[in-house]
């Protein structure tokens, strides 16, 4: 498995190319912004009917990351469901699949802005999860440290000779880590957006996702 190793508040962490975060000492896998049911939500609102395979695809990737890391704890960092209706409309197969992934693991649902409410699937439902030296929450809080969050779907653009690449990315500085969106149907917010550049310290890194996760100075 190709990972990028780094430390945050003394915790040794690994950024996976898939956009998941792994904490080996705790055997903890953290993913953010899964946005299950996004396609159906669009259809419900009379918009286009997007390919209804995104929940399946996201779960497939999550299963692969669980197998590769052997994680004992899973933290879903909020916006797991595109809205609360999407949670109720999970198909039976999908709900069973999630239950299968949960078997034998500690599972924590962090509340997000899309899915603020109890989740009646197995696992623990929390507003945030303190796990010293780190704290897991959906939206970064200015002034916090050792904080792992999601919400912004950061992506970064990199110019190479003759072409420009845009990839979802982790943002990392000495205080916090922001995870990229893990869900299949998710867009991104460019790292040069003021919402992100104001939040991150000047020396922040962007860790690009892809076959091999790669750090670059955070483009701003």
């Amino acid at each position: 498995m190709n990972v990028f190793d780094f430390t945050l508040a003394g915790a040794k962490l690994q950024a996976l190319g898939s956009g998941a975060l792994y904490w080996p000492d705790q055997r903890l896998l953290c993913v953010s912004d899964l946005h299950f049911g996004k396609a159906e939500r669009a259809a419900r609102h009379g918009g286009a009917q997007l390919p209804p395979y995104e929940t399946h695809d996201t779960l497939t990737r999550l299963e692969a990351d669980l197998a590769a890391t052997g994680a004992a704890t899973v933290v879903c960092l909020g916006d797991t469901f595109d809205d609360m209706t999407a949670l109720h409309e999970l198909t039976e197969a999908e709900a069973l699949w999630i239950a299968r992934l949960q078997a034998g693991r500690r599972w924590v649902w962090i509340e997000g802005n899309h899915d603020a409410g109890p989740i009646q699937l197995g696992g623990t439902h929390l507003a945030e999860l303190p796990l010293p030296p780190l704290a897991f929450r959906h939206i970064a809080r200015p002034g916090a440290s050792g904080e792992v969050s999601g919400h912004y779907h950061p992506k970064a653009r990199l110019r190479t000779r003759g072409q420009s690449l845009s990839r979802p990315c982790f943002l990392l500085d000495s205080d916090r880590l922001i995870l990229p969106a893990y869900g299949t149907f998710t867009g991104g917010l460019r790292s040069d957006n003021t919402a992100l550049s104001d939040l991150m310290r000047p020396e922040a890194l962007a860790i690009l996702t892809g076959a091999i996760p790669r750090p670059i100075p955070m483009p701003r």
Partner: protein, 799 residues
Amino acid sequence: MTPLPAPFSDWFAAKGWSLHPHQSQMLARRADPALLLIAPTGGGKTLAGFLPTLLELADGTHQGMHTLYVSPLKALAADIRRNLTGPVEQMALPIRIEDRTGDTTYTQKRRQRADPPHILLTTPESLALLVSYPDAPRIFAGLQRVVVDEIHALSESKRGDQLMLALARLQTLAPGLRRVGLSATVDDPAAIARFLARHPDDCAILQADPGPDPDIRMLVTDQPPPWSGGGAAYAIPAVLDQVRQHRTTLIFHNTRAQAEIFFHNLWLANDDALPIGIHHGSLDRAQRERVEAAMVAGQLRAIVCTGSLDLGLDWGDVDLVIQVGAPKNVKRLVQRIGRANHRYNAPSKALLVPANRFEVVECLAALEAVKAHDLDGDPRGPGPLDVLCQHILIAACAGPFDANALLAEFRSAGPYATLTRAQFDDCLDFVATGGYALRAYDRWQRLQQRPDGLWQLRDPRSAVLIRQNIGTIQDSDLLKVRMRGRGPALGEVEESFAASLTPGDTFLIGGQIVRYEGLREMTVEVSRDKGRKPKVATFSGTKFSTSTQLSHRILRLFQDGDFSALPDHTTDWLRLQADVSSLPEPGALLVETFPHDGRQHLCAYGFAGRNAQQTLGLLLTKRMEALNLAPLGFVATDYATLVWGLDPVTDPAPLFDPQALADGLEGWLRGNAVMKRTFRASATIAGLIQRSHQGQRKSGRQATFSSDILYDTLAKYDPDHLLLRITRDEAMRGLVDFGRIEEMLTRIQGRITHNILPRVTPLAAPLLLEVGKVPIQGTAQDRLLADEADRLMQAAGLA
């Protein structure tokens, strides 16, 4: 000849005019259900189209809309309104004429729906919007005629397909509707007639006198054209000379970027400060309108332009057309030449300026084709299904529909005459449920079948969204360019180009060098900057491939070996090629292999056009990779593909095996960027992707995600989905152009002339200088990324 009634005969007499023969023919046959008029520009085409309408409306008894005029250009609709209003007022005819385009105000549009004018001038998109309203039957009740202008251009695009579907709807609403098409000179008038007429009605084709043959030559310069490139900077002095000698010159270019560079260079050399303007589709509308107005007023001596001036207004005083770069397509060349000298019966004057040595040959072939009246055209397949999907949505916006009746209506449109029940059902299913193998949206269908069997929108409110997405024109992600500090808008550049800029970079737009300052709210802010070497902006203009017919002419020219009409520099070059290797010929594929610069090269002269040669490059390198020949990259032009790698190809024949190429295509297409681009266009038209509106983009793009993700997901889980099938068909005809590879393979019948050479050949040498080299993807991209990431980390002191 039908005598004209009083106000008309008097008016013609007062003007000292008489009817052209084709104008009276149009009058005589005005009861025909469909008529196609082929006439050169300046031939009184518009009057020929409208005279029957004016006659029928003269007695003031007709209530409501009588004639609908559709043109591909908004500007043309406005212009025709002005041109028609004159005679109507002079003859005091009781006729109301109005135009309706994207620029028409909301109140005006409302009023037009409530109280339609006698003559409405509009565009295909505005018409599609009109037929989507529930009150369309009332708006179009009693409609008698529809006049489709510039139908030759519309018939080559999805805009035309959409228009014909709208006409089919109008025909249902107004069964007596008669159709008239106005066309420039084309290769296959019968095809356009079939496109226009209600299937299976007949459509008579009326030919106006085409006028005398044009006076067309190649521009002779002291300096020979360069070996490669498309700028034609070498010809600037000679072109300026010609501008000086003529009243008004149109200087056509094939791409917007080339037009910008040429214009820049032209001004650097324009010591007499001749008034010269620039006009292309990426410039701000206000700026284009200023240039057009100056042109009409006779204030400009020349306009550097692109396809944006192919159609449209009568420019009056143009007495010379210069085509810079190979014409690629004889039909378009002839139409461009027609822009010169709009007076009937005077020969148009035109000059061809080859941009490089090879284009000299192509220009000669094009000259011969023009002289022989041998126009080219690649026949278009049946109407595309993405447009059909959009039209099902449009029909649903107008009200509940019966599927059988809708199918019958669609089949009455020329481009959809061969539509099968299964195709229609697929489209209806896609629009209603998404058409996925996984039946996911039964509860949230877009269209629902009512108990009485009619189909309707599940949520009537979705009509608003559907109407916002009507149209088939793809605007790629464009960003406005504006002078900093509330300065004027200059035009638009592609988002990807803007992303490649860092503050301080300079680029050309509208003939000015500007300095990139930054991006603010989706606007590229620039400031003036003089005298630095600018980057060249990439514009989303169409890149044309040299037509099949023109390519064949070039090959025949090589075969005949008669180079007397070519300039000496080009003749010498071709002779040398014939001596050291051989010239390409129609009945075999010339393949050269030679070492150069430490790499092994293979050059295949397929003459299949740029897109197909590009595809060939991708397929060849893929095959070579499989055979362990370590290809490193390739470059393609309209004529040839040059591949380089670590090992020599000793036997090229297996590389060109048709079955192997077709199989390679299958596998390669899937993950290809061309497919993704094509998918995005089709998915937008078919209604799967909503067009992004400026406002939405501004408010954060986190909510929207790239269409590539949709493509990848579909390819992975639903590879037989309708949209993927549409994408595949489109790409095969368009950017992938595999059809022309097949055509080439049929032409050569397995005959390959393989010349093994010690060094690069005269014909292959220019390819080494070509821009647009394609590195072989795969591990390459990741390696590139790794290098760049390391460099950045080092530079930032972080590594």
